[in-house]
Amino acid sequence: MADVSLAQVQDWLVRAKDSVTEQRSYLTELDSAIGDADHGSNLTRGFGAVVDKLASQPAASIEALLKASGMTLVSTVGGASGPLYGTMLLRMGKAVGDADTMTATQLGEALRAGLEGVVARGKAEPGDKTMVDALGPAVEAFEKALTSGEGAATAATAAAQAAAAGRDDTEPLVARKGRASYLGERSAGHIDPGSASVTLLLEALAAALADG
């Protein structure tokens, strides 16, 4: 099983930028139902800045790349998504360390560390109608696939599918964290925008590993 390369991690973020840019209206539409209608534009701006940053200052290691990307998101994405996605990428980078390749197991550990960072930062629990409801099942699916002997690409595909299912499962939930929680019962009946954007990120990861 091939290791995951620095170039693939960079490709992941480029694909993530393309995906959130393409799905910008969809994310904004979800966010206008239960938030402040800026999720699509915030992430488009943020990941656009990430790709610009990586193009102008190539990173020498996976940790450096994820750290630079996380810091860029933090400085360009207003609202809670900035510190949440920033924390996720920073923790992932720290888990991998100063290397230019990682094993599938290391990627699994990085995703787990990213999830734990998001949970620590946002203090959201499963069922609160947040990105955790997609990212949590995705990390579990990734780990389960590895246990079954699958490689990183297949595990990432399983993670993306689990994220999409988790995203869809947020629809009936009543939000208990973030701005949507101000709506109380009225937040039910809408998919959580954060769960939708993190699903796009995991789909981008699966695509980057499949083609790489």
Partner: protein, 262 residues
């Protein structure tokens, strides 16, 4: 002095709040650093917050930094900033205080050279002044002056130390003990070697710590009210006379005939 970091979604909001707080402290303000907005718009930026903490830490010479935040993700960005900072010389605390009240209280308390713990406590209790103003009273340990007095008469040795001294003085300020005279009194009290408490004899409110602007303000002292200053120990008499002298002189407000200086 303890440093203050102001984290806001809006730069104009942060700048105005800092201006308001700085009006209270005059020529010797504590280090205050602002991290407001994100990428030119509304929002907060953990990287900018981390940089502001580093600057405030450097300026505070190891005494510590208090971070005062406005809404929602300002807290999250500040928590993330604590992961990003490196090689700090002192501790950093995130304040639970309301933004404007907490910032004013923190800046004032830091300006008198208080510890980070004291600055944080003062900021956190900042909401009490408004609560007291609107409720007309506040929850004092002993709310009924009569009960307090009769209790100490009944058992003079039980709770009251025998060397407590007090002095009574009338408030001359036209607007009572409002923010700026309260700051002056708190600063003067903080410079003393003894703890002085203040009770409003007309309303029974108190005792408040004389070195806390917010506690003083929550006494609801009006022009003409009499306050009792109490302290104990060998330096008590000098301390009480110093503060009583300042109060009688109007705490920088003059004695009223030229009106309030706003």
């Amino acid at each position: 002095m303890v440093g203050i970091v102001v984290v806001s979604h809006s730069e104009p909001l942060a700048v105005a709040a800092v201006e308001l707080a700085m009006q209270m402290v005059g020529s010797d303000p504590p280090p205050v650093e602002v991290a407001a907005g994100n990428d030119g718009g509304l929002g907060t930026d953990a990287v900018a917050v981390a940089a502001a903490i580093q600057r405030a830490d450097a300026a505070s010479a190891g005494t510590g930094v208090l971070v005062v935040t406005d809404l929602g993700s300002a807290v999250m960005s500040s928590e993330l900033a604590l992961e990003l900072v490196e090689d700090l010389s002192g501790p950093v605390r995130l304040s639970r205080a309301p933004f404007v009240e907490g910032l004013v209280a923190a800046v004032v308390q830091a300006s008198v050279g208080s510890s980070l713990e004291a600055v944080e406590r003062e900021a956190t209790s900042a909401i009490q002044a408004k609560t007291a103003q609107l409720a007309g009273e506040t929850e004092w340990p002993a709310t009924d002056e009569t009960a307090q007095e009769s209790a100490s008469e009944a058992a003079p040795d039980a709770d009251a130390p025998s060397d407590v001294q007090s002095i009574e003085v009338q408030i001359v300020n036209p607007e009572g003990l409002h923010a700026r005279p309260a700051v002056l009194l708190a600063k003067a009290a903080a410079d003393l070697a003894v703890d002085v408490s203040v009770t409003n004899l007309d309303s029974g409110a108190g005792p408040a710590s004389a070195d806390s602007m917010l506690e003083l303000m929550s006494l609801g002292v009006r022009q003409g009210n009499r306050v009792r200053l109490s302290a104990q120990g060998s330096a008590a008499r000098d301390a009480l006379e110093t503060l009583a002298g300042l109060i009688a002189a109007g705490l920088g407000d003059g004695t009223g005939d030229e009106g309030s200086s706003r």
